[in-house]
């Protein structure tokens, strides 16, 4: 009896930014979409986010940033995931929050799959995840 794998995602907040309302709302939307959501809480480092993501075997890490540190924090999470998780790591990283449009191309270049800025609709985010993040196969 093969059951369908459940999607596991992590919602993470790194750095000193203490605004977690958005992250909590996203976490709830993901739960209501039927995902298992690991929430890290505030003030994480990229290292602790990555270590948690590996221990929890999540399919995606969603980073939230509202205080301007995304240009360092998001790419650092991607880099560490590749470093600690091995070459075949398949965890998707996406982000959201107060992120200027001109930063988006640079973030995508650094390996962040998608950025959801202010005004993004919860349904759109959930649908994007459903479409782009699949539970690990092997």
């Amino acid at each position: 009896m093969v059951k369908e794998r459940k999607l596991r995602v992590m919602v993470a907040k790194a750095g000193l930014d203490g605004h977690d309302r958005g992250a909590r709302i996203i976490a709830r939307a993901f739960r209501d979409a039927g995902f298992e959501v690991v929430y890290t809480g505030l003030h994480q480092t990229p290292e602790s986010v990555v270590q948690a993501a590996i221990q929890e075997d999540v399919d995606m890490v969603g980073m939230s940033s509202l205080a301007g540190a995304h240009r360092y924090l998001f790419p650092e999470v991607v880099r560490l995931l590749r470093e600690k998780g091995g070459e075949d790591i398949d965890i998707v990283v996406c982000g959201g929050g107060i992120i200027p449009d001109e930063d988006v191309p640079k973030l995508k270049e650094a390996g962040i799959a998608e950025i959801f800025g202010p005004g993004s609709k919860l349904d759109d985010i959930v649908n994007w995840v459903r479409e782009h993040v699949k539970p690990r196969v092997a």
Partner: protein, 321 residues
């Protein structure tokens, strides 16, 4: 497969993480890995921690981990949170209180959702305990919301079971009494700086004393400890109490330990047989089409579900009525 077994024993975090997911998702083949791992289990000391939402389980677990790490013990944590019965999703937030340990290589923390499949939680959590045990963790802390039989069974499979309450829960203690009071080896009154802690202490004392005859072994009186987990008060005393309970289990040649282990194995084996049996029979019935035919017969009013289930089960077990 054998590769995975070797990696788990070597303590490879990613392999362990993936294996626990495979257990949870019921991936075929996982059983073979578990079979190969089983001979490498039995070294870890398993502590179950249970209590209503908000009593401070995660905070206490976090402090216990810190203390155990100071004593240079390695620790595995399994934190169980409920799955929403409506959406199938879950928010697993226990890590929030424990994230300071996430970079410590001597600690492995994993959040599990109850998922609601019958018997599933108990079995998959026990398997996850085995994996962390084989990984070489000295202590494994299992945290659950202690509601429902499944979760009680989970904490029951621990060597030492801790039940947490907070002052002023009033009638909630009455609710605890029915079902899980009997499995508590140690009681913790957390947030003991709050009003009513002594009243709660007295109530618990009365209850454990009244419940004494229920303890088969009889000689262990569950201690009741006042703790303020947030301030790290009473945590050392709690760990002392755990060590005392452990010593008690091992005294006179480990009689109590053996008794518990026998009970545990008996219970687990019965459950595993039950699960396998149900799965096997159902699979066969569904694959062979008998199941759907019976559904149609009931729909058409040709048969009642009682007769149908009798026929289905007995046809597979090869016994005729």
């Amino acid at each position: 497969m054998t590769n995975a077994v070797e990696k788990v024993i070597a303590g490879d975090v990613r392999t362990v993480a993936r294996l626990i997911r495979d257990i949870d998702d019921g991936v075929p083949g996982v059983r073979e890995t578990l079979k190969a791992l089983y001979p490498h289990t039995g070294h870890a000391y398993v502590i179950g921690i249970t209590g209503a939402p908000g009593v401070g389980k995660s905070t206490l677990v976090d402090q216990m981990v810190a203390r155990l790490r100071k004593a240079e013990k390695t620790v595995g944590v399994l934190a169980v949170d409920p799955t929403s019965p409506f959406t199938g999703g879950a928010i697993l937030g226990d890590r929030i209180r424990m994230q300071r340990h996430s970079l410590d290589e001597g600690v492995f923390i994993r959040s599990l959702a109850t998922r609601g499949h019958f018997g599933g939680l108990t079995q998959s959590t026990r398997s996850a305990i085995d994996v962390l045990d084989a990984m070489g963790k000295d202590y494994i802390l299992v945290e659950t919301v202690g509601v429902g039989q499944d979760e009680v069974d989970v904490v029951k499979s621990a060597q030492t079971t801790i039940i947490i309450v907070i002052p002023g829960m009033g009638d909630d203690i009455q609710a605890i009494k029915a079902g899980i009071l009997e499995v508590g080896d140690i009681f913790v009154i957390n947030k003991a700086d709050r009003e009513g802690a002594d009243k709660t202490l007295n109530e618990l004392r009365q209850m454990t004393e009244m419940g004494q005859q229920k303890y088969k072994e009889g000689k262990w009186t569950p201690p009741i400890l006042k703790v303020e987990a947030v301030f790290d008060r009473g945590v050392v005393e709690l760990l002392d109490a755990i060590e005392k309970h452990r010593a008690y289990l091992m005294e006179s040649g480990g009689d109590q330990h053996l008794l518990r282990r026998t009970l545990r194995i008996r219970e687990e084996l019965a459950e595993m047989v039950k699960d396998r049996l149900v799965q096997e029979v159902l699979d066969q019935l569904i694959e062979g089409g008998d199941f759907e035919r019976a559904v149609e017969a009931i729909l058409a009013g040709e048969m009642d579900p009682y007769t149908a289930s009798d026929n289905l089960v007995l046809s597979k077990l090869g016994r005729k009525r």
